[in-house]
Subunit: 193 residues, 2 copies
DNA sequence: CATTAATTGGAGAGCAGTCTCCATTACCCG
DNA sequence: CGGGTAATGGAGACTGCTCTCCAATTAATG
């Protein structure tokens, strides 16, 4: 029906992810993305109404991809202790497979301009978080963690700590060692008790 | 000898810390700092040769203040297990006392424009890190952690994990609960073994 | 009181990035 | 083969930030 597109949304988002991983969210400028794929800036504005929308999509696509895999792992295992270990491993394995995307996770939605997002984008972000929060809460119950402190300890063990293992190496610029998955799993197990 | 200054370095850095905590490093513009203290932009350039130097000083003053207190705690206690617990507690206690500064720790030197820093600033950053790394290495030895993996686990327990406890709440916007110090200490103990 | 030196105060040049606008291009369909 | 449609390609207005420059101000000093 019309002229075929040379630049599709995912191609632009991929470039944006690379830029963000290399230089942080501020490096994701409309012109930089355009230049990265060899397009004029007008083409970027054809796909995204503005920079806030582009940043929101970069963030949401990354986080939702991470969360989808994470929750799949949580739900696949019925024994809570084994689910906990698998979850911790998964975080590291996912980051190993998606290094640029993992880098983005160490920023927050705020760094991607959440304040300027559309209501729709904000809602998507909140819903994703709530879903993970709910799954994690159910697992915490199964593990006998009843109060806020116990739940926090579970969240630390299954999400934050594995991510931190990655972060140490990204920060230092050293390569992720082969034992990273084991380390995350064994630390998670130690914290879950 | 001369006209007295209305705006001193620390006053400008304090404002910069507040801006960075609220809006991330990109929010620390020369004009924003000037406006925050009620000065014209020229006055900021009188104290700092440019934005890279300002960002470097903001980062280094914060990190060095954190590291000084941290190493004092590590050195004050000779029993390694007690030192470990005290260190974890200290990270949380320091962050509670310095919420804005703690927020900055979740960025990296790269986000504060390390690539544009002077050689002097880069050196200061590296030296601080090496000192902490050395102290932590000594403690790891005392705890019987010999290989890279064991050392990494110690670092996770004594630095990254306590910081992560803070980060969860800063991200979510919830207040730091009173049990945070205990939680960090008990998690660190569990990881140190 | 005049000199001197450090500092303020602010105007504005230059630049980078966002976003608008619209002519042009290329494909699909009847 | 020509009309309709979706996309490109790029020029340029506008905005906000960095940084320069220099006159005006203020206090200590001899």
């Amino acid at each position: 029906m019309a002229r075929p597109s040379r630049f599709d949304v995912d191609q632009l988002l991929d470039a944006a992810v690379r830029l963000a991983a290399a230089g942080g969210p501020p490096a994701v400028t409309m012109s930089a993305v355009a230049q990265a794929v060899g397009a004029p800036s007008g083409s970027v504005y054809h796909r995204f109404p503005g920079r806030p929308a582009l940043l929101a999509e970069v963030w949401l696509r990354t986080v939702e991809s991470f969360q989808a895999g994470y929750m799949a792992v949580l739900d696949a295992e019925s024994d809570p202790r084994r689910a906990a270990r698998a979850a911790a491993r998964h975080v590291v394995a996912w980051s190993r497979r998606h290094p640029a995307e993992a880098t983005l996770l160490f920023y927050g939605a705020a760094d991607f301009g959440r304040a300027d997002w559309s209501e729709e984008h904000t809602r998507r972000a909140d819903e994703g978080n709530e879903r993970v929060f709910a799954s994690l809460g159910a697992l915490a119950d199964a593990l006998g963690a009843t109060d806020a402190r116990g739940r926090e300890r579970i969240a630390l063990a299954l999400v934050d700590l594995p991510l931190t293992v990655i972060r140490r190496h990204l920060r230092a610029g050293t390569e992720l060692p082969p034992y990273a998955e084991d380390l995350a799993e064994e630390c998670a197990a130690a914290l879950v008790g």
